[in-house]
Symmetry: C2
Subunit: 301 residues, 2 copies
């Protein structure tokens, strides 16, 4: 299976890579669009399912991937919010996101809709539909948190203690969430926030972390929590400032600055919920820094 | 085909993803080790070739990927500098790097050796062996540049104009090089340097670039140069400081601060050569900032 997307859609594809690998046993590759466009030497896809993910369905290189895969006789599917878009026309099948117009320049609700739709491709979990519905409801709950818990906390940009460097950490299913929150921070606050998997960070780049770093740590309950105590000890020893996004009581006790996630969401669905406080935090931080989170299309010119 | 590596070895795997896709038509996925270790739900690999890349051959999660792939009946290959390592024992086949002991804590010559070995997997290019040999020789030439061109220039840390944020840009075959140079900058200078593909940067994060950014731009001759003029104009307009690594006369003329690559290396082999000035630059920058590039194993503790 090949998944192709740019930006937020690429991050949604990364979620699918974990989900379909862990629960469906599928080998999932993220596409390298340059092979289709720049080098005009695409890989063989006649026996693959190729999925193009794009909110607008306009991204020319993602359209090129789907067009080539279909020409080779492979199965092609578009996940797009625009059923009449070039991407949908290029693919044999389309699943519409049905999210309504994306009002945010830095896509937010369509990212959630992509995760929700990709979540349906999972097989094997008991009570899947109910679990998906609950996760969606809890993401709504998290979103309403804008007016209750997340908002006021997230708006405390200065109190959050933003330092010279900012990174976002996640692992497993929420590695995709780390990518997405880092992208939102870049797009709306213009902060060069890089994402790391906890495993990769411990393999080397941890050496750069010191008191000049703020760290956003995704730590929803589940297997990926296993490294978190050691990680927190290392970050503390190095003087980094940590903001945790977690439903786990241990993490919340340990990290004074945290955004609480609703409980009871299984790890494989937690990305649907855990991205929301990150999106709100990015938006609030942008505003506290004097930026309009929706200006970047204009700023870009 | 599935490729598994951590750190520099993962970056070498990314080179192979482009090379084997563009020249051999192969769909290459980069492994998600968490599926094998953390979630114990590996994808089906019985019909795949799985390649583990590791300098030391010790990385437990890469060993776990190879062990599982072999247990499933797939073909397994280790690329390691240690033919008696756990990785080599886990794999059915081993290709030794034959690079001699890696003396640099932040792997350098073994990265080159991995690229060189992976370059042999390419098929179709005329005069491949000669081209590979030439690229290797020119990488040596670039390395000798330490005492001639690259060294003194790269050592001018302050004159390079290091700003608050640092990013590394590449595209196509040299997207891997951007990852590797960014990793070296993190590991030796403790600078949070993030890599971007030029295409991804233009898709959104360009909005964050301003006069507080230094940019290392990989621009070897070839198809990936197509976006470079537009990119340079945008970076200039935003006041970023650019250091180019290029053999292209146009780029060298346009960017006053550049490290010249030897000419005559085809694009598909350019990563073997273009990483060298980046490694030297990272080492020299570390020293100019008062760091020992080989201390991080100690610093990490």
């Amino acid at each position: 299976m090949l998944l192709a997307g740019r930006g937020s859609s690429d991050n949604a594809a990364r979620y699918a890579q974990y989900l379909l690998g862990a629960h469906n046993g599928l080998g999932v590759a993220l596409a390298v669009p340059s092979l289709f466009t720049l080098y005009e030497s695409p890989p063989r896809l006649s026996r693959a399912l190729t999925i193009g993910v794009s909110q607008s369905g306009q991204s020319p290189d993602i359209v090129a991937v789907l067009r080539e895969a279909r020409a080779q006789g492979g199965i092609t599917l578009a996940l797009s919010n625009e059923p009449e878009s070039p991407l949908s026309r290029a693919a044999e099948y389309t699943l519409p996101l049905l999210a309504g117009p994306e009002l945010s320049v830095a896509a937010t609700k369509t990212y959630s809709a992509q995760l929700f739709l990709l979540g349906h491709a999972e097989r094997g979990a008991r009570g899947k539909s109910r679990a998906l519905g609950r996760a969606r409801a809890r993401a709504g709950l998290a979103r309403r948190g804008d007016r209750t818990e997340f908002g006021p906390r997230a708006r405390r940009g200065p109190r959050f203690g933003l330092r010279a460097s900012l990174i976002v950490l996640g692992r497993g299913f929420n590695y995709s969430t780390a990518f997405e929150i880092a992208l939102k921070l870049k797009e709306t606050s213009y902060l060069p926030a890089e994402q790391f998997s906890v495993a990769d960070l411990l393999h080397g780049p941890l050496a750069m972390i010191d008191q000049d770093f703020s760290v956003v740590l995704l730590a929803p309950s589940g297997r990926s929590l296993v490294d978190v105590p050691e990680l927190l000890a290392r970050l503390e020893a190095r003087g980094a400032r940590v903001l945790a996004i977690s439903d786990a009581p241990d993490v919340q006790r340990r990290v004074p600055m945290h955004l609480a996630l609703p409980r009871g969401v299984p790890e494989w669905l937690s990305p649907i919920v855990s991205v929301v406080p990150g999106q709100l935090f990015a938006g609030a931080l942008a505003q506290s820094l004097g930026h309009d989170p929706d200006c970047h299309a204009v700023c870009l010119r």
